[in-house]
Symmetry: C2
Subunit: 123 residues, 2 copies
């Protein structure tokens, strides 16, 4: 089975914010064994999620992990992502698509907060 | 010196999204030595940043670390946060206010992404 990672950010008019996801994709390429890693955006930037899904399939994936790079995913975003997943699954019948949880309240998020505080003079 | 942490999220109409920051504040209370920790919101939820800053000062802080719980902070958000910092510093002259970097591309963010992928069937 060839598993692809389709990273998904919200997308912004600011190129800098969109570029963050490209950096995450690059780091994931360096620090994981996933052979297919594509960055995509829910809106306002390219590639779109359907285009990203197609890139994963064309690169040979038969399993795509859709990973939302969101702190939290509200009902609106969750509904959009589920719709994109269902559309991709219907279009590429031999490929399975799974939607990951967003970054959310992962325990490491607190370590990041603590680091940022220390960097700025905290204890 | 008594250092307070003023956590700042964007704020949402969704109570669930706002509650995430309350959980982060609770975890930080359990897992750090900061004696004053207040959650606040840039917009759409209470307390506001000025109210949160006042709470920190009233609790006895003479140093406040303003910590943006944002994946990235664009120029608009950064400008707003700097304005709130300057206003708080002008209002409470004996207290110093420092603005931390947002969560951003901290190396641990990649560990969170990798964990989410593994949880969803990735390698």
């Amino acid at each position: 089975m060839t598993t692809a990672v389709l990273l998904i950010a919200h997308g912004s008019r600011r190129a800098e914010a969109n570029h963050d996801l490209v950096i995450v994709a690059d780091r994931l390429r360096e620090q994981s064994d996933y052979s297919i890693i594509v960055a995509s955006y829910l809106e306002l930037a390219d590639p779109s999620i359907p285009d990203g899904a197609r890139q994963c399939v064309e690169a040979g994936a038969d399993h795509v992990l859709m990973m939302p790079y969101f702190l939290s995913a509200g009902s609106h975003v969750t509904r959009d992502l589920e719709r994109f997943r269902n559309e991709a699954a219907a279009k590429f019948e031999t490929v399975s698509f799974d939607l990951c949880p967003p970054l959310g309240l992962h325990p490491l998020m607190l370590e990041i907060v603590k680091d940022r505080l220390t960097e700025t003079g905290g204890s």
